[in-house]
Symmetry: C2
DNA sequence: TTTCATTTGTACGTATGTATT
DNA sequence: TAATACATACGTACAAATGAA
């Protein structure tokens, strides 16, 4: 995955699909320490609002980061930063 | 994954979500030999029609089987049965 | 106990883009 | 030109579980 500016916004007009952009941005924010391990990131609906994309798109981004072991999801509770393995 | 009847249909009222049901059904059909290795399975739209579910749901099922190395996708060409590893 | 808000899970339909046939 | 097929994104709706009030 590319390196992203943790303060970047999602660009709807570029060649990189928004779901990949957001995954990169969130990875950068985790790396920076915006959220401590075992702490929840903002809810999907909140992220959708903040980045101006659909919740279904946010979910695709999160799925990427879960696959990369950066996040884990607890149904009905939230999405959490995974402690370093 | 559970064992499925390759001739089963998708049940919208049961506890198992359709995308998991279809993944199981397709796995059973691959196992049975409905499609040879390196041959394409029906298109997503076709599967959606045949099983009475949305195309987006079909795609979730396929994603599961890609992850399990039963299928591989060639963009703009189709979804193919992976030869045994 | 009941109610309510929050959050993720699932499913649907629609639209547009790109590449191949 | 047209049809086909996958990639991406949007919005909507409802279900299920949790936890707070």
């Amino acid at each position: 995955m590319e390196q992203y500016d943790p303060d970047a916004q999602v660009d709807h007009d570029g060649p990189v699909p928004p779901y990949k952009q957001l995954a990169g941005i969130l990875a950068a924010r985790i790396e920076r320490g915006d959220w401590a391990p075992n702490r929840a990131i903002p809810a999907e609906t909140r992220l959708a609002q903040e980045y101006g994309i659909a919740r279904s798109t946010v979910r695709r981004s999160i799925a990427l980061l879960v696959e990369r072991d950066l996040l884990f999801v607890v149904p009905q509770r939230g999405t959490f930063v995974k402690p370093r393995q």
